[in-house]
């Protein structure tokens, strides 16, 4: 076990892991722990994952296996404004590809990349369950509905102004 002076994990995460260890099937909380960690830190680092493995008493390979299997986990930092374009069916049918194209052109980055200044990153999601308002884009946690390619520059400047 890493001793506490070396720890890189956040105290609340450590506390959560300790709590899980008192429950039945502690290893089953791995995904929940990674969710909390990502929410706190923005993405999963190797050091963090290694420490989670040690504290939860599971092999490090299990933790990295899980973190790479699930698309939701990010292994590198995202931009300050994470733009996520829904590429679910309803959004696709309503022209999500054109929205994506507009963001790509405007930001000069591809899906999965972050602008050099670290401000914007481009991601996709498969359906946020608001298909009735397609096409949708989220910037950080805010959902924008019925987006048109023409609105893209405006969305970016609004995000910056927030």
């Amino acid at each position: 076990m890493t001793n506490s002076t070396q720890t890189k994990l956040y105290p609340e995460i450590i506390e959560f892991i300790e709590e899980c260890l008192t429950r039945e099937h502690p290893e089953s909380y791995l995904i929940s722990i990674l969710h909390k960690l990502q929410e706190r830190h923005g993405y999963l680092t190797r050091e963090h994952m290694y420490e989670v493995a040690q504290r939860l008493q599971v092999p490090a390979s299990v933790v990295s296996g899980v973190s790479t299997f699930y698309h939701f986990f990010r292994l590198k930092p995202r931009g300050r404004y994470a733009i996520s374009i829904c590429l679910g069916t309803a959004c696709f049918v309503k022209g999500a590809d054109k929205i994506l194209e507009a963001f790509r052109k405007k930001l000069g980055i591809n899906m999965g990349e972050t602008t050099k200044d670290g401000l914007f990153s481009l991601e996709n999601t498969r359906c946020l369950g608001v298909c009735g308002l397609a096409p949708v884009v989220t910037i950080n946690d805010k959902i924008y509905s019925r987006v048109t390619p023409q609105q893209v520059p405006d969305l970016l400047s609004r995000a910056l102004a927030d």
Binding site: S32, T89, C127, C131
Partner: protein, 726 residues
Amino acid sequence: MPKVLEKFQQIKQEILKEHLPHYDSGKIIIQVGSATCENAAGADQVRAEFRKLLAASGRDDIVIKQTGCTGRCSREPIVGVYFPGQFPFKYEQVTLPKVQEIFQQHVLAGKPVLPLILDKKTSNLYSRVVTLCSMAAPRYAEQDHWADILEQRLKAKGIPEGTVRIFTGCSLGLYSQEQSSTNMGMIVFPQKTVYTFSTEAELDAIIQSHFIEDKILKANLAAMDPLIKRFISLYGDVAFFNKQTRLTLRNSGIIDPEDLGDYIANDGFEALAQTLEHNDPSRVIDAINRSGLRGRGGGGYPTGRKWQDAIASTDPIRYVICNADEGDPGAYMDRSTLEGDPFSIIDGMIIGAFAVGARQGFLYIRAEYPLAIRRVETAIAKCRAAGLLGKNILDSGFDFDLDVRLGAGAFVCGEETALMLSIEGKRGQPRLRPPYPTQSGLWGHPTVINNVETWSNVSVIIRHGAEWFSRLGTEKSKGTKVFALAGKVRNSGLVEVPMGTTLKEIIFDIGGGVPEGRTLKAVQTGGPSGGCIPAGLIDTPADYDSLAQAGSIMGSGGMIVLDDQDCMVATAKFFLEFTQDESCGKCVPCREGTLRMLEILERITQGHGQMEDLDKLERLGRLIQKTSLCGLGQTAPNPVLSALKNFREEFIIHIQEKRCPSHKCAQLIRYEIDANKCTGCTLCARRCPVSCISGTPRQPHVIDQERCIKCGECFMVCKFEAVHKK
């Protein structure tokens, strides 16, 4: 009084005592939608604005409440205003200025703001609204026929036009009356009187008594189910609920999903209390069996049989799981229920757990639904605090608790064996079945896994009876199904109808048809595991067997409407890209096979396809179907195979003419400049990234087709609509 029921009554009274003012509390209620969809449309700000106005008004007889969504995505944000004892009003697409108007004119001054009313169906204040319905089975032609007769008779009796509004539909498949093939039902608002009749003479008698003499005609009064009675009293939105039957969505958009009192006041947990009082698991399983309920997650396996399978094992440790992974990208039925009525899922799960002897249950919710997760966690905590979850529930001796586990963006984890591994904290890779989860599931113990909608139906079946439930729907598909209508349809949103309602009724009568004067091309059901049903088969009833016969599947309820501007090759490719991306990679046919199919489709959409590619796609598709390990691979070829079957011609045009008739496939679009319209402004030539447009200023320009990379820039920038897509 028996022990459990007594305990339940005690809890109920306690909760209701502290319960927020309810619809019959004598207060004016402003109800604002609160769901992911509502908030995306701006409901958050609307609620805040009402709060501000209310605070400023200093009134204490007005209450603001929240509710889940009613599935009316295209009309959100929706606001309801309830005056005690009056017909409820609902407003659509409420913006901040509209909040002002509604608050000042309606809430404070009592005058409804008619132009803002939902569906704008009420252009004046009708003194009465009538809904005609054909009882359990939709018989639309008959409804229309009776509506005509009713209209004539009212006129003949001298009732002025425009004072009675007539709707038809089967909003009320839920009478406690025997199903009859000749009876019609009729609700009259605002009195909420429900009549049945089967002859013109009876209809005349009702008109004479109710509309002329203002007396209720007792002889024809229908016995009403409490569920539908409550529904009628709370819903202002008659027009849309026309032709729908809301069972799963019975509370969504009516109650406050975070308020246990609201759920309990609306009949919640009654079924649970009854079940625990009888203390006989076989009674529950028997009822579920007789109801004919089948799994709503896609497979359609009989729910009662699944529960029976689970108790066949002697292993004393058993689990129940709610599959709330809702993976179909383009479906949102489950999200709406999770956000709008989480208690109903918990209610069903406790009953199910009791039936199969489980002590612990899990709800596996996809991480993309943060509000749903929060609502479910709140609901669980409130149930625990009230003694509805935990040890010795309602003094029955039965222990059961629930835990939420989150998905993490893997579609394959909706598959039951993968889902269970994911709950165990592992990579969600499916395994071979058998053993089925009911034999060996979570940590090797028998596990019952059901979909959100399946669980939500359990308590209504127990409460109102298997026979009552099985009257709805068709021979082999009982009850109702919620569909998520999206795509090229006017009223996108959730629709709940009796199984067997035709696609045409869903898309045209309820969905309002295809907008912008376009024509229907196909309906996609079943998401990435399903297929496209061509417009010609629009009369197909939506039930498990008929949809399968039409070459698609029921799936979980996603229904995407495609119009003549949608390319079937591109749509098939879209789904295959999805499944190929989501394949867990465990077995070769799925991992490699879908990649090969995708390569072929890419070739076709780029104009490099060969005719033999079509046979190759079919051969590969059938091979993947037969040899893949799990449902993802086994169904991945479906969208492609069904498109090939129903829209082969379109594939051939892509291959032979190198043309995409619906202008979707970017590489097959040919951009041409219309010399008659081009003013020679030079804009396109300056913007073209490969400088392949030439021409002198003020003269028509031309595109060098050889060098054009089809980026579409010229088409977008031309201000004179001189660039055409061919």
